[in-house]
Protein backbone atom coordinates (compact mmCIF):
# COMPACT_ATOMS: atom_id res chain seq x y z
CA UNK A 1 0.00 0.00 0.00
CA UNK A 2 2.80 2.40 0.96
CA UNK A 3 4.69 1.37 -2.20
CA UNK A 4 1.61 2.21 -4.31
CA UNK A 5 1.31 5.61 -2.63
CA UNK A 6 4.97 6.37 -3.26
CA UNK A 7 4.60 5.45 -6.95
CA UNK A 8 1.48 7.63 -7.27
CA UNK A 9 3.22 10.50 -5.50
CA UNK A 10 6.14 10.37 -7.97
CA UNK A 11 3.85 10.39 -11.03
CA UNK A 12 1.85 13.35 -9.63
CA UNK A 13 5.00 15.46 -9.18
CA UNK A 14 6.11 14.55 -12.70
CA UNK A 15 2.71 15.65 -14.04
CA UNK A 16 2.97 19.01 -12.26
CA UNK A 17 6.38 19.56 -13.86
CA UNK A 18 5.27 18.76 -17.44
CA UNK A 19 2.78 21.67 -17.55
CA UNK A 20 5.64 24.07 -18.55
CA UNK A 21 5.44 24.79 -22.31
CA UNK A 22 8.40 25.70 -24.53
CA UNK A 23 8.31 27.25 -28.00
CA UNK A 24 11.86 26.33 -29.04
CA UNK A 25 13.31 22.92 -29.62
CA UNK A 26 14.25 21.33 -26.34
CA UNK A 27 17.11 18.94 -27.16
CA UNK A 28 20.36 19.82 -25.44
CA UNK A 29 23.25 19.78 -27.92
CA UNK A 30 21.44 20.84 -31.08
CA UNK A 31 23.79 21.52 -33.98
CA UNK A 32 23.09 22.44 -37.62
CA UNK A 33 19.86 21.35 -39.28
CA UNK A 34 19.45 17.81 -40.57
CA UNK A 35 16.61 15.31 -40.97
CA UNK A 36 14.17 15.23 -38.05
CA UNK A 37 15.35 18.50 -36.45
CA UNK A 38 12.55 20.57 -35.02
CA UNK A 39 12.74 24.11 -36.39
CA UNK A 40 11.17 27.43 -35.64
CA UNK A 41 9.35 29.28 -38.42
CA UNK A 42 10.08 33.00 -38.09
CA UNK A 43 7.94 34.65 -40.74
CA UNK A 44 4.34 35.70 -40.26
CA UNK A 45 2.80 33.09 -42.54
CA UNK A 46 -0.41 31.36 -41.44
CA UNK A 47 1.11 27.92 -41.95
CA UNK A 48 4.05 28.69 -39.70
CA UNK A 49 2.16 30.39 -36.89
CA UNK A 50 -1.00 28.35 -36.35
CA UNK A 51 -0.54 25.93 -33.44
CA UNK A 52 -0.39 22.23 -34.15
CA UNK A 53 0.19 19.31 -31.84
CA UNK A 54 3.52 18.48 -33.59
CA UNK A 55 6.36 20.95 -34.14
CA UNK A 56 7.57 21.54 -37.74
CA UNK A 57 10.34 19.06 -38.56
CA UNK A 58 12.92 18.88 -41.31
CA UNK A 59 12.54 15.82 -43.53
CA UNK A 60 15.13 16.50 -46.24
CA UNK A 61 18.08 18.81 -46.80
CA UNK A 62 18.83 19.92 -50.39
CA UNK A 63 22.54 19.51 -50.02
CA UNK A 64 25.29 17.01 -50.87
CA UNK A 65 25.82 16.44 -47.16
CA UNK A 66 22.63 16.00 -45.19
CA UNK A 67 23.53 18.95 -42.94
CA UNK A 68 21.91 22.31 -43.54
CA UNK A 69 23.60 25.59 -42.69
CA UNK A 70 22.48 29.21 -43.23
CA UNK A 71 21.27 29.68 -46.80
CA UNK A 72 20.37 26.05 -47.48
CA UNK A 73 16.91 24.91 -48.56
CA UNK A 74 15.19 22.15 -46.64
CA UNK A 75 11.89 20.30 -46.86
CA UNK A 76 9.68 20.79 -43.84
CA UNK A 77 6.74 18.76 -42.57
CA UNK A 78 4.23 21.26 -41.10
CA UNK A 79 0.63 20.52 -40.18
CA UNK A 80 0.68 17.35 -42.23
CA UNK A 81 1.96 19.11 -45.37
CA UNK A 82 5.35 19.28 -47.05
CA UNK A 83 6.80 22.75 -47.57
CA UNK A 84 10.19 24.02 -48.62
CA UNK A 85 12.01 26.39 -46.33
CA UNK A 86 15.19 28.45 -46.14
CA UNK A 87 17.48 28.24 -43.11
CA UNK A 88 18.23 31.68 -41.71
CA UNK A 89 19.98 30.77 -38.49
CA UNK A 90 21.01 27.78 -36.44
CA UNK A 91 22.31 26.97 -32.98
CA UNK A 92 25.60 25.62 -34.27
CA UNK A 93 28.53 28.05 -34.02
CA UNK A 94 29.75 28.89 -37.53
CA UNK A 95 32.76 30.90 -38.71
CA UNK A 96 33.99 33.68 -36.42
CA UNK A 97 32.30 37.07 -37.03
CA UNK A 98 29.06 35.26 -38.00
CA UNK A 99 26.07 35.26 -35.68
CA UNK A 100 24.88 32.18 -33.80
CA UNK A 101 21.24 32.08 -32.87
CA UNK A 102 19.59 30.52 -29.85
CA UNK A 103 17.09 28.61 -32.02
CA UNK A 104 17.05 27.00 -35.46
CA UNK A 105 15.25 29.61 -37.57
CA UNK A 106 13.62 28.93 -40.89
CA UNK A 107 11.56 30.93 -43.43
CA UNK A 108 8.85 29.17 -45.46
CA UNK A 109 9.39 29.34 -49.19
CA UNK A 110 7.59 28.21 -52.35
CA UNK A 111 9.21 26.03 -55.03
CA UNK A 112 10.12 29.07 -57.12
CA UNK A 113 11.76 30.85 -54.17
CA UNK A 114 8.94 33.22 -53.22
CA UNK A 115 8.44 33.54 -49.47
CA UNK A 116 5.06 32.52 -48.07
CA UNK A 117 4.93 35.16 -45.33
CA UNK A 118 5.04 38.91 -45.70
CA UNK A 119 7.30 39.99 -42.84
CA UNK A 120 10.31 38.64 -40.94
CA UNK A 121 10.86 40.29 -37.59
CA UNK A 122 13.72 38.13 -36.24
CA UNK A 123 17.25 39.20 -37.19
CA UNK A 124 18.74 37.62 -40.32
CA UNK A 125 22.51 37.27 -40.89
CA UNK A 126 24.07 39.61 -43.46
CA UNK A 127 25.71 36.65 -45.21
CA UNK A 128 22.46 35.85 -46.98
CA UNK A 129 22.92 39.10 -48.91
CA UNK A 130 25.77 37.42 -50.77
CA UNK A 131 23.23 35.33 -52.70
CA UNK A 132 21.08 38.30 -53.58
CA UNK A 133 19.90 36.62 -56.80
CA UNK A 134 18.22 33.62 -55.19
CA UNK A 135 16.98 35.19 -51.97
CA UNK A 136 16.17 38.74 -53.04
CA UNK A 137 12.47 38.38 -52.19
CA UNK A 138 13.19 36.88 -48.75
CA UNK A 139 15.70 39.64 -47.99
CA UNK A 140 13.17 42.23 -49.11
CA UNK A 141 10.67 41.18 -46.44
CA UNK A 142 13.32 40.99 -43.68
CA UNK A 143 13.40 43.93 -41.29
CA UNK A 144 16.32 43.26 -38.95
CA UNK A 145 19.81 42.26 -39.98
CA UNK A 146 22.65 41.13 -37.73
Amino acid sequence: MAVMNRRLGLSLSQLSRTVIQRHFSITGACRAIQKLTRVRVVDNSALGNTPYHRPPKCIHVYNKTGVGKVGDTILLAIKGEKKKALIVGHKMPGAPMTPRFDSNNVVLIEDNGNPVGTRIKTPIPYILRQREGEFSKVLAIAHNFV
Binding site: I20, I26, G28, A29, V42, G89, P93, P96, M97, T98, P99, R100, F101, D102, S103, N105, K121, T122, P123, Y126, I127, R129, Q130, N144, F145, V146
Partner: protein, 252 residues
Protein backbone atom coordinates in the same frame (compact mmCIF):
# COMPACT_ATOMS: atom_id res chain seq x y z
CA UNK B 1 47.96 94.56 12.92
CA UNK B 2 45.47 91.73 12.91
CA UNK B 3 42.20 91.70 11.07
CA UNK B 4 40.60 89.19 13.41
CA UNK B 5 38.70 91.95 15.24
CA UNK B 6 37.13 93.13 12.00
CA UNK B 7 36.09 89.59 10.99
CA UNK B 8 32.36 89.16 11.29
CA UNK B 9 31.55 85.68 12.54
CA UNK B 10 28.25 83.98 13.34
CA UNK B 11 29.02 84.26 17.08
CA UNK B 12 29.38 87.99 16.87
CA UNK B 13 32.72 87.75 18.68
CA UNK B 14 36.12 88.15 16.92
CA UNK B 15 36.80 84.84 15.10
CA UNK B 16 40.23 83.29 15.13
CA UNK B 17 41.91 83.11 11.73
CA UNK B 18 41.36 79.67 10.25
CA UNK B 19 43.72 78.91 7.39
CA UNK B 20 41.96 77.35 4.36
CA UNK B 21 42.23 73.54 4.21
CA UNK B 22 45.19 72.27 2.20
CA UNK B 23 44.16 70.87 -1.22
CA UNK B 24 44.42 67.10 -1.42
CA UNK B 25 46.42 66.16 -4.51
CA UNK B 26 45.48 62.74 -5.89
CA UNK B 27 48.51 61.63 -7.82
CA UNK B 28 46.59 60.03 -10.69
CA UNK B 29 49.74 58.96 -12.51
CA UNK B 30 50.84 56.85 -9.57
CA UNK B 31 47.45 55.22 -9.21
CA UNK B 32 47.29 54.47 -12.92
CA UNK B 33 50.62 52.72 -12.75
CA UNK B 34 49.52 50.70 -9.75
CA UNK B 35 46.63 49.28 -11.74
CA UNK B 36 48.08 47.36 -14.65
CA UNK B 37 45.89 45.57 -17.06
CA UNK B 38 47.44 42.96 -19.30
CA UNK B 39 45.00 41.51 -21.82
CA UNK B 40 44.70 37.74 -21.15
CA UNK B 41 45.66 36.77 -24.71
CA UNK B 42 49.24 37.96 -24.11
CA UNK B 43 49.87 35.32 -21.47
CA UNK B 44 51.24 32.23 -23.25
CA UNK B 45 49.59 28.89 -22.44
CA UNK B 46 51.49 26.23 -20.54
CA UNK B 47 53.22 23.85 -22.90
CA UNK B 48 56.38 22.86 -24.68
CA UNK B 49 56.11 25.35 -27.57
CA UNK B 50 59.10 27.51 -28.39
CA UNK B 51 58.78 30.90 -26.66
CA UNK B 52 59.99 32.45 -29.94
CA UNK B 53 56.57 31.72 -31.44
CA UNK B 54 54.86 33.71 -28.67
CA UNK B 55 57.41 36.49 -28.99
CA UNK B 56 56.73 36.87 -32.71
CA UNK B 57 52.97 36.78 -32.10
CA UNK B 58 53.29 39.44 -29.43
CA UNK B 59 55.22 41.63 -31.85
CA UNK B 60 52.37 41.37 -34.35
CA UNK B 61 49.76 42.00 -31.67
CA UNK B 62 51.57 45.14 -30.47
CA UNK B 63 51.86 46.30 -34.09
CA UNK B 64 48.11 45.96 -34.51
CA UNK B 65 47.43 47.69 -31.19
CA UNK B 66 49.48 50.71 -32.28
CA UNK B 67 47.23 51.18 -35.27
CA UNK B 68 43.92 50.22 -33.70
CA UNK B 69 42.89 50.81 -30.11
CA UNK B 70 41.71 47.67 -28.30
CA UNK B 71 40.27 48.91 -25.00
CA UNK B 72 40.44 47.16 -21.68
CA UNK B 73 37.36 45.05 -21.01
CA UNK B 74 36.35 42.04 -18.98
CA UNK B 75 33.76 39.30 -19.18
CA UNK B 76 30.52 41.02 -18.23
CA UNK B 77 31.24 44.39 -19.85
CA UNK B 78 28.93 45.69 -22.53
CA UNK B 79 30.67 46.39 -25.83
CA UNK B 80 29.70 47.78 -29.23
CA UNK B 81 31.71 46.42 -32.16
CA UNK B 82 31.62 47.87 -35.70
CA UNK B 83 32.88 45.52 -38.41
CA UNK B 84 33.42 46.07 -42.12
CA UNK B 85 30.90 43.96 -43.99
CA UNK B 86 30.58 44.02 -47.79
CA UNK B 87 26.95 42.94 -47.55
CA UNK B 88 25.76 45.43 -44.97
CA UNK B 89 24.22 48.76 -45.94
CA UNK B 90 26.86 51.49 -45.45
CA UNK B 91 29.36 48.59 -45.44
CA UNK B 92 29.58 48.72 -41.62
CA UNK B 93 27.80 46.48 -39.16
CA UNK B 94 27.37 47.48 -35.49
CA UNK B 95 26.59 44.92 -32.79
CA UNK B 96 26.05 45.67 -29.10
CA UNK B 97 26.26 42.91 -26.52
CA UNK B 98 27.61 41.65 -23.23
CA UNK B 99 30.93 39.82 -23.35
CA UNK B 100 30.28 36.28 -22.13
CA UNK B 101 33.59 34.63 -22.90
CA UNK B 102 37.17 35.53 -23.79
CA UNK B 103 39.04 32.70 -25.42
CA UNK B 104 42.14 31.98 -27.43
CA UNK B 105 45.71 33.17 -26.99
CA UNK B 106 47.88 35.27 -29.26
CA UNK B 107 46.52 36.63 -32.52
CA UNK B 108 43.57 34.24 -32.53
CA UNK B 109 42.09 35.70 -29.35
CA UNK B 110 38.30 35.89 -29.48
CA UNK B 111 35.48 37.27 -27.43
CA UNK B 112 31.80 36.36 -27.66
CA UNK B 113 29.14 39.06 -27.43
CA UNK B 114 25.57 38.16 -26.61
CA UNK B 115 22.35 40.14 -26.99
CA UNK B 116 18.66 39.41 -27.37
CA UNK B 117 17.14 41.18 -30.40
CA UNK B 118 13.39 40.88 -31.02
CA UNK B 119 13.12 37.93 -28.60
CA UNK B 120 15.88 36.07 -30.44
CA UNK B 121 19.15 35.44 -28.64
CA UNK B 122 22.15 36.20 -30.88
CA UNK B 123 25.80 35.53 -30.09
CA UNK B 124 28.72 36.61 -32.25
CA UNK B 125 32.28 35.43 -31.72
CA UNK B 126 34.65 38.25 -32.72
CA UNK B 127 38.39 37.93 -33.24
CA UNK B 128 40.22 40.75 -31.45
CA UNK B 129 42.96 41.11 -34.08
CA UNK B 130 40.80 40.67 -37.15
CA UNK B 131 41.43 43.58 -39.56
CA UNK B 132 37.71 43.66 -40.43
CA UNK B 133 36.93 45.16 -37.04
CA UNK B 134 36.75 48.94 -37.37
CA UNK B 135 35.92 49.98 -33.81
CA UNK B 136 35.49 48.43 -30.37
CA UNK B 137 33.70 50.66 -27.90
CA UNK B 138 33.22 49.81 -24.26
CA UNK B 139 29.75 51.03 -23.29
CA UNK B 140 29.92 49.79 -19.71
CA UNK B 141 33.11 48.54 -18.09
CA UNK B 142 32.40 46.09 -15.30
CA UNK B 143 33.24 42.63 -14.06
CA UNK B 144 30.94 39.82 -12.98
CA UNK B 145 31.28 37.12 -10.37
CA UNK B 146 32.28 34.49 -12.95
CA UNK B 147 34.95 34.07 -15.59
CA UNK B 148 32.48 33.11 -18.28
CA UNK B 149 28.80 33.77 -18.54
CA UNK B 150 27.75 30.92 -20.82
CA UNK B 151 24.91 30.25 -18.39
CA UNK B 152 23.16 33.35 -19.73
CA UNK B 153 21.89 31.09 -22.52
CA UNK B 154 19.76 29.28 -19.96
CA UNK B 155 18.87 32.36 -17.94
CA UNK B 156 15.74 34.43 -18.43
CA UNK B 157 16.12 36.59 -21.57
CA UNK B 158 15.87 39.86 -19.60
CA UNK B 159 19.44 39.30 -18.31
CA UNK B 160 20.84 39.22 -21.85
CA UNK B 161 18.87 42.11 -23.39
CA UNK B 162 20.79 45.33 -23.85
CA UNK B 163 19.63 48.44 -25.65
CA UNK B 164 21.36 48.81 -29.02
CA UNK B 165 21.42 52.59 -28.67
CA UNK B 166 22.58 52.77 -25.07
CA UNK B 167 24.89 55.63 -24.12
CA UNK B 168 28.38 54.74 -22.93
CA UNK B 169 28.70 54.87 -19.14
CA UNK B 170 31.76 56.95 -18.21
CA UNK B 171 34.42 55.21 -16.15
CA UNK B 172 37.14 57.24 -14.48
CA UNK B 173 40.69 56.10 -15.08
CA UNK B 174 41.83 55.73 -11.51
CA UNK B 175 38.77 54.00 -10.08
CA UNK B 176 38.58 50.27 -9.50
CA UNK B 177 36.56 48.24 -11.94
CA UNK B 178 33.07 47.69 -10.45
CA UNK B 179 32.06 44.09 -9.84
CA UNK B 180 28.41 43.44 -10.60
CA UNK B 181 27.25 40.93 -7.99
CA UNK B 182 24.09 40.17 -9.88
CA UNK B 183 22.55 36.75 -9.23
CA UNK B 184 20.77 35.65 -12.35
CA UNK B 185 17.47 33.72 -12.36
CA UNK B 186 17.28 30.75 -14.67
CA UNK B 187 14.69 29.27 -16.96
CA UNK B 188 13.26 25.95 -15.79
CA UNK B 189 15.50 22.93 -16.29
CA UNK B 190 16.75 21.26 -18.60
CA UNK B 191 19.71 23.56 -19.21
CA UNK B 192 22.43 23.21 -21.84
CA UNK B 193 24.92 22.34 -19.09
CA UNK B 194 24.34 21.30 -15.49
CA UNK B 195 25.40 24.63 -14.05
CA UNK B 196 24.73 23.56 -10.46
CA UNK B 197 27.67 21.12 -10.57
CA UNK B 198 30.79 22.27 -8.69
CA UNK B 199 33.07 21.83 -11.74
CA UNK B 200 31.68 25.04 -13.27
CA UNK B 201 32.00 26.86 -9.94
CA UNK B 202 29.37 29.44 -10.81
CA UNK B 203 28.60 32.14 -8.31
CA UNK B 204 26.34 34.33 -10.39
CA UNK B 205 23.22 32.14 -10.47
CA UNK B 206 20.42 32.22 -7.93
CA UNK B 207 19.72 28.51 -7.80
CA UNK B 208 16.08 27.93 -6.99
CA UNK B 209 16.51 24.17 -7.08
CA UNK B 210 15.41 21.96 -4.17
CA UNK B 211 18.04 21.12 -1.54
CA UNK B 212 18.04 17.50 -2.68
CA UNK B 213 19.27 18.48 -6.17
CA UNK B 214 22.00 20.73 -4.78
CA UNK B 215 23.18 17.94 -2.49
CA UNK B 216 23.18 15.50 -5.39
CA UNK B 217 25.28 17.91 -7.45
CA UNK B 218 27.89 18.00 -4.67
CA UNK B 219 28.60 14.31 -5.41
CA UNK B 220 30.64 15.46 -8.43
CA UNK B 221 32.90 17.72 -6.44
CA UNK B 222 36.60 16.95 -6.91
CA UNK B 223 38.28 18.69 -3.96
CA UNK B 224 41.67 17.12 -4.71
CA UNK B 225 42.04 19.13 -7.96
CA UNK B 226 42.77 22.28 -5.97
CA UNK B 227 45.89 20.67 -4.47
CA UNK B 228 47.11 19.00 -7.66
CA UNK B 229 50.63 20.33 -8.11
CA UNK B 230 50.97 19.23 -11.73
CA UNK B 231 48.06 21.49 -12.68
CA UNK B 232 49.61 24.59 -11.12
CA UNK B 233 50.50 27.40 -13.51
CA UNK B 234 51.81 30.49 -11.80
CA UNK B 235 51.64 33.33 -14.30
CA UNK B 236 52.73 36.22 -12.05
CA UNK B 237 56.39 36.36 -13.17
CA UNK B 238 55.53 35.75 -16.83
CA UNK B 239 52.92 38.52 -16.58
CA UNK B 240 55.46 40.96 -15.12
CA UNK B 241 57.92 40.33 -17.94
CA UNK B 242 55.32 40.55 -20.68
CA UNK B 243 53.75 43.66 -19.13
CA UNK B 244 57.13 45.46 -19.17
CA UNK B 245 57.76 44.38 -22.75
CA UNK B 246 54.31 45.38 -23.99
CA UNK B 247 54.14 48.73 -22.20
CA UNK B 248 57.60 49.73 -23.46
CA UNK B 249 56.74 48.82 -27.03
CA UNK B 250 53.42 50.64 -26.92
CA UNK B 251 54.99 53.84 -25.59
CA UNK B 252 57.29 54.06 -28.61
Amino acid sequence: FSSSEYRISSDGKAAKFQPPPKPVIIDKQKQREERRFLSPEFIPPRGRTDPLKFFLERKDMIQRRKVFNIPEFYVGSILAVTTADPYANEKANRFVGICIQRGGKGLGATFVLRNVIEDQGVEICYELYNPRIQAIEVLKLEKRLDDNLLYLRDALPEYSTFDVNMKPVTHLDYEDIPVNKLQVRMKPKPWSKRWERPKYNIKGIKFELPEKKMKEAEKWRQPWLEFDMLREYDTSKIEEKIWKEVSEELKK
